[in-house]
Amino acid sequence: MCLAIPGEILSTRGDTALERTGIIRFGSITKAANIALVPEATIGDYVLVHAGIAISIVQPEEAKQLFDFLDNINLDATKKTESSGDTES
C-alpha cells in the first residue's frame, strides 16, 4: 500500500495551496497529482507520488550516493588487497 512512484513535474496549476496540482510524467504515462505537500517543488523536479499525492521531492545529488558508496567500498577492498599483497612480498 505504501507504493510510491517517482515522476517529473511538467506543469503546475491550482488556485489554493491545498489544491495545487502538478501534471506528472511517469515514464510514458502522464497523470495529475496533488503537489500541495511539496510547496517548494517546481517544473522539472522529480517528486515521489503516493495515491495521487506527492509526498517528497527526489534529491538528484542524494540519488547518486548509492553508487558513490559502492565505489568507496570497492576502493577500500582494492586497497586492502594491495596492502596484503605488499606484506606478503
Binding site: 500500500m1 505504501c2 507504493l3 510510491a4 512512484i5 517517482p6 517529473e8 491545498l18 489544491e19 511517469f26 515514464g27 497529482a33 496533488n34 500541495a36 505537500l37 511539496v38 510547496p39 522529480y46 515521489l48 503516493h50 495515491a51 495521487g52 499525492i53 509526498i55 517528497s56 527526489v58 534529491q59 538528484p60 542524494e62 540519488a63 550516493q65 548509492l66 553508487f67 558508496f69 559502492l70 567500498i73 570497492n74 577492498a77
Partner: protein, 361 residues
C-alpha cells in the same frame, strides 16, 4: 524510468553482494519492516543471494494485512446500506471479513468503488449530493496525509455527505512491540522508506538507543535493499546501534513537515488492534475532536467492536513478528491461498505469505 531502472542494475547488485559477504563474520537476523520491501526481496530473490549467515525476517508493514477483521466487517456492513457509495483502495476489496468481502457486496448490487486517490472522493461527493460517501481510510504514515487532506478539504467545502472509516496504524509502536518481545530474534531493522518520507528519520533514534538496535531507513528497489542490508550488517559487525539513512534521495531527518502538520490537525493518536498481533497502545490514528463529524463509525452507529475469532491453524501473527516463515505453516498453499486466505499475511499482495506464494511456489 528514471530513479527506478538504475536501482535494478545487476552488476552493482553483484558488487553489493560481494561486499556483504566480505564483511559478514557471524549470523545476523534482520527484519525489513515494510510489505513493499518484503515483496521486492521475494520477487528479486534477494534472500537466496545473501550469505547463509544473513537471515531476513519479514515485518508487519502491510496495512491491508493488519486491518482487524472487525473493521472489515464494519466496512462490509456500511457498504451494504442503501444510499451509500463506499470508496476504498483496490487492495481492500478482496480482504475477507468474517462472512464475505467488499467485492461480494458489489456483486450483490452495493455501490462499492475503488479509487486511485482519497481526493477522488471529493468529486464523487459533489456529484452525488443525495448519497452518502464513505472512504475506507486505512494505511500507515505514508497514506495518512492524503486521507487527512480529504477530510480537511471536505470540511472546507462543507461536504456533509462524506465520512471516513478510519483504521490507520503507526510503524514505531509496532517495531517497539516486536523488539521488546522476549521471543524476538531481530538484531537489526530496515525501516520503511516511504513512511519515513513523511515522518523523517528522527522518530527512530529513541528506539535505536533504547533497544540498542541498528535501524537503517531503506528504499524499495533491489539496490536500495542491498545497500540497506550492507549498512545494517556493517553496524552489527562493528557493534554500533544508530539510525542511518540509505534512502536520502527521498527521506530527510525532519520528514515532510507540511504533511505532519496536516496529520496532526485532522487526526489524533489512539490505541489500535493489529490483525494477527493484537492491541498495541498508541499505535494508530483516529479523527481529532474537531473533525469527529466525519467519523463513519459514529455516523452509522458502529463504534462498538464485535470480536471475531481467527482460524486456529493460521500463524500470521508469528509471521508478522518475524518469529515464523510462511513455509513453516501447515496451511500455506493448501488450506490458505491468495484466493482463500486464512489470515493477515495472505490477504494482500504485499503480505509475506502472498509474496512467498506468488514467487516461490
Amino acid at each position: 524510468m528514471k530513479y527506478i531502472d538504475e536501482y535494478r542494475d545487476g552488476e552493482a547488485a553483484q558488487q553489493y553482494l560481494t561486499a556483504i559477504k566480505a564483511i559478514t563474520t557471524r549470523p545476523w537476523t534482520i527484519m525489513e519492516v515494510c510489505g513493499g520491501q518484503t515483496h521486492a526481496i521475494v520477487r528479486f530473490g534477494i534472500a537466496d543471494l545473501l550469505p547463509d549467515d544473513i537471515h531476513l525476517v519479514h515485518g508487519p508493514g502491510c496495512p491491508v494485512c493488519v486491518t482487524p477483521l472487525e473493521m472489515i466487517d464494519k466496512a462490509i456492513a456500511i457498504s451494504s446500506l442503501p444510499d451509500v457509495i463506499f470508496c476504498s483502495f483496490g487492495d481492500m476489496l478482496r480482504v475477507p471479513g468474517s462472512a464475505q468481502d467488499l467485492q461480494s457486496v458489489r456483486a450483490q448490487g452495493g455501490d462499492v468503488r475503488y479509487i486511485y486517490s482519497p481526493l477522488d472522493c471529493l468529486k464523487i461527493a459533489r456529484d452525488n449530493p443525495d448519497k452518502h460517501i464513505v472512504f475506507f481510510a486505512v494505511g500507515f504514515e505514508t497514506t495518512a496525509p492524503g486521507n487527512a487532506m480529504l477530510v480537511y478539504q471536505a470540511a472546507q467545502e462543507g461536504l456533509n455527505n462524506l465520512s471516513v472509516l478510519v483504521s490507520h496504524v503507526l510503524v514505531p509502536p509496532a517495531i517497539q512491540t516486536i523488539i521488546s518481545s522476549p521471543q524476538s530474534r531481530v538484531q537489526g531493522f530496515l525501516a520503511a522508506g516511504h513512511v519515513c518520507a513523511i515522518m523523517g528519520t528522527q522518530e527512530y533514534t529513541p528506539l535505536a538507543h533504547q533497544y540498542q538496535v541498528p535501524i537503517v531507513v531503506t528504499g524499495f528497489e533491489p539496490l536500495d535493499i542491498l545497500q540497506g542490508l550492507y549498512m545494517c550488517i556493517k553496524q552489527l559487525e562493528e557493534g554500533r546501534c544508530q539510525v542511518e539513512n540509505q534512502y536520502a534521495r527521498v527521506v530527510t531527518e525532519q520528514g515532510n513537515t507540511a504533511a505532519q502538520n496536516l496529520i496532526a490537525q485532522v487526526f489524533r493518536i489512539t490505541s489500535r488492534k493489529w490483525r494477527g498481533i493484537g492491541d498495541i497502545p498508541q499505535s494508530g490514528l483516529s479523527l481529532s475532536p474537531q473533525y469527529a463529524g466525519f467519523d463513519a463509525e459514529q455516523r452509522f452507529g458502529m463504534a462498538a467492536d464485535t470480536p471475531v475469532e481467527e482460524p486456529e491453524e493460521c500463524i500470521s501473527g508469528l509471521i508478522l513478528q518475524g518469529l515464523k516463515k510462511p513455509k513453516q505453516c501447515t496451511a500455506f498453499g493448501k488450506a490458505c491461498t491468495p484466493e482463500h486466505p486464512l489470515g493477515a499475511t495472505m490477504v494482500s499482495g504485499e503480505g509475506t505469505c502472498a509474496a512467498y506464494f506468488k514467487y516461490s511456489t
